[in-house]
Symmetry: C2
Subunit: 472 residues, 2 copies
């Protein structure tokens, strides 16, 4: 890139297990509207869309989530480069590959590395901080945004700003990164003027890469090659799997920040939260007079300072203080604001049990839309399927199941054994076992059908794809 625009690099790889059951590995927190109408990812990207200042963002995501990212960008009308990680390698490799992609656009490319799952309440202050940091970044510094601590928490790392940088007003060199200290140490750090490490930072792409070369060559090399050999696949850019697979799995803090001599920091008083758990969401949510934050169909009787969130069931607290209650269609967690971090332990326990709700949500996203299992029993299963306008499922057949489709909204084009027919609201069709079939939405509104499957085996893996728009 020959111009001075900053390229946002948005990291989308987190799994957000502390926000279970709303957040699941199959659909983690960055994709949820946890603090407003838009998802955390959408808010993150929309903050950096001013074309005078920012270039096309690079979103680094887990391949499994690619259609979710694409859909969420389409919803907000943002064109982004969606780079897919072939494997989970922590943040350093992902950032390294993204830096290389930016560098390929121009030798002087500046990158703004952003977590996709944080909340920033004051966008103007955030953009101002980015402006403050830019000259130092362009002079070769890695400028982190340090949030003013409000409590001596052990949940965050701390940075120690020292000498002011002459060339960059508002930016100071950072002498040390200190990872998650205990409470006493955190109090001391705060007394010394240390800041929370927000994990978001600004630098030249080549600064990042050369520091990776210096401090983590086993990441730098593979990340570069993975980017250089990246291949376009539909709307996605697939990082080279063979190369990426060779990278060490380390966080950027561990690989670079704690070792580099070029760290700098600028205070980030822009209402930052990493939304690390339900307690953080209680803090930023609107409260009633009793201090309760109630989201969705909820009720609170004689309760104080509770966070109650429901996606579906009527969810009520009676006589509770500091409780956190989160209910989805298939799971409920009850804890307190103090103890909510234990949800991570819970998810590990449920995963160990093989509990399906541990990792997957009832709503499954597909490139053509989504489906939800609404009922099941021995030898049958009922789904509600939504197909986006102008999309279609793969041409497929099943070995073990027959399907009944009833259109309840919109219009469907159904192909059975090569024969097309239209199906309108309140019409149905039967798809016998073994017959090749395809469901399309040729219309301009979403198509909704109720699908009743019957058969001896109803797993998602009984699909023989004969043709697919999405190369699955």
């Amino acid at each position: 890139m020959s111009e001075n625009r900053i390229i946002p690099v948005v990291l989308c790889g987190g799994s957000g297990s502390r926000l279970w059951p709303a957040s699941r590995e199959s659909y983690p927190k960055q994709f949820l509207a946890l603090a407003g109408d838009r998802t955390l990812l959408q808010d993150t990207v929309l903050r950096v869309t001013d074309p005078a200042r920012f270039g096309r963002p690079i979103i680094v995501a887990n391949a499994e989530h690619r259609f979710i990212v694409a859909e969420q960008m389409a919803q907000i009308g943002v064109q982004a480069t969606i780079a897919l990680e072939p494997a989970r390698k922590d943040s350093a490799a992902a950032i390294g590959a993204a830096a290389r992609l930016a560098e390929l656009q121009g030798h002087d490319a500046t990158i703004l590395v952003l977590a996709s799952d944080h909340v920033i309440l004051d966008t103007e202050a955030f953009l101002e901080a980015v402006g403050t940091g830019a000259p130092a970044a362009q002079a070769g510094r890695i400028v982190t945004f340090g949030a003013p601590p409000t409590e001596p928490t052990s949940r965050y790392g701390y940075i120690r700003p020292v000498a002011a940088l002459d060339a960059a007003p508002g930016v100071r060199a950072v002498a040390a990164f200190e990872e998650k200290p205990d409470r006493a140490r955190a109090e001391a750090l705060i007394d010394e003027g240390c800041l929370w490490n927000s994990g978001n930072f600004l630098c030249l792409a080549r600064t990042l890469l050369s520091e990776l070369d210096r401090h983590a060559p086993a990441i730098a090399g593979p990340a570069r090659v993975a980017a250089d050999k990246a291949a376009q696949d539909l709307d996605f850019l697939r990082l080279d799997a063979a190369a990426f697979g060779l990278a060490d799995a380390k966080s950027i803090d561990f690989a670079v920040m704690e070792r580099t001599a070029f760290a700098a920091g600028t205070p980030a008083a822009f209402g930052w939260s990493d939304v690390g758990g339900w307690a953080a969401l209680w803090e930023i949510a609107p409260h009633d007079r009793a201090g309760n934050a109630l989201v969705g169909p909820t009720a609170a009787i004689d309760s104080v300072n509770c966070y109650v969130r429901s996606e579906k069931p009527m969810t009520a607290v009676v006589g509770m203080t500091d409780a956190v209650v989160v209910a989805t269609q298939d799971a409920v967690v009850v804890t307190t604001r103090d103890r909510a971090d234990g949800i991570k332990t819970l998810v590990a326990e449920l995963t160990r049990r093989g509990e399906p709700t541990a990792l997957r949500s009832v709503l499954s996203h597909r490139p053509w839309g989504s489906y939800q299992i609404i009922d099941d029993g021995p030898r049958f299963q009922v789904k509600r399927i939504t197909v986006k306008p102008k999309r279609r499922l793969s041409l497929q057949r099943h070995i073990h199941r027959a399907e009944h489709w009833i259109v309840v909204r919109g219009a469907a084009q159904v192909t059975l054994d090569g024969v097309d027919r239209m199906l309108h609201e309140n019409e149905s069709v039967y798809v016998p076992i073994g017959v090749s079939h395809r469901l399309s939405n040729p219309g301009v509104i979403p198509l909704e059908i109720i699908e009743v499957q019957t058969g001896s085996y109803l797993g998602e893996d009984d699909i023989i794809r004969l043709e697919d728009d999405y190369r699955r």
Copy 2:
């Protein structure tokens, strides 16, 4: 009845709102399996089925619950007289009418009045207490079962046993009934040797009626006439509505027990609980080492002395102490064992809001089986319908909706515009708007169908019944 068998009178009129959301007005606690495999009503009736000692029970129930009672009796193979209250008139009128029904069977009939929604852990001790009380009852006493108090609670009434009755070993006259005292008074009563009034008692039917005549003539008269004019309706005995409607609404304690000179009591150390709330269920449930009682798909992490019950969603507590969490498919309540009585206030609040979960459960019982709404949206609704063997729905038609039926288990006989056809597993049929139709299960296993309704209005009241086996 010329013999000496005791006629159980089982009162089924409670609404159990303290056990929301498991218990709803449409399906209250006596019909739930809260403390074992059978429902509280079933356990209550099964305790008194020894034909050598007990006659055919009389169950007094709300007319709205009649098919539930009939079904639950059929499940345990018990023949009962199901007397339907035409209106809610509290316990005195219901007991009066039942006493009259018993008296009509024989001048010396003894009745054993039992709440249908209590738990009794030690059936043998219970039956022994009934045996102990019987001679005094037959001598004209009203013998209540007084439970030894385990705490000075305000939730119960207390009885004060005084002089032993010469003719009846183990039974003492009762000097006073004291309604729900405060804690200090309760402590004093316990020191004086008072017992909890379990609300269950034994007496001659004519003793009860003559005491009603004496102390509550505005109940005695109407109750007698309601019983005398009762009419058989299918498997039910409908108390006369005009007469019953004239009765005062009073509890039996207030109408008779606190006034009669014939009260007596026998200690009832048979593990009695009125299951008045979730805290009581925690007490009688099996606990894990940390004191948690977990029922259904649940998990507890770092939690102590909690009651967690789920009918469907995976429900977990993390770092909780003394919490009560109850989750059904459509509602969740979170409280503590101390504060669980506040659920009554919650249900009142939800009722005021017009919240559908306040009073009705997702599973609706019908004489032919049951149905459950599994999904809904604008202009459509999906139900799972279960039809018992050899039962059929009414012949009906709808003005606003069409229906698709897909058989997922069993076999259906479908009548459309007078034409019969059989439908087997994995077959479907379409019922257009306005067409008369009937669904029958001619088979020997339950029939399950998925029904997809579409139309502009989907309320239960869009049913024109042309013919009905159940006279609805």
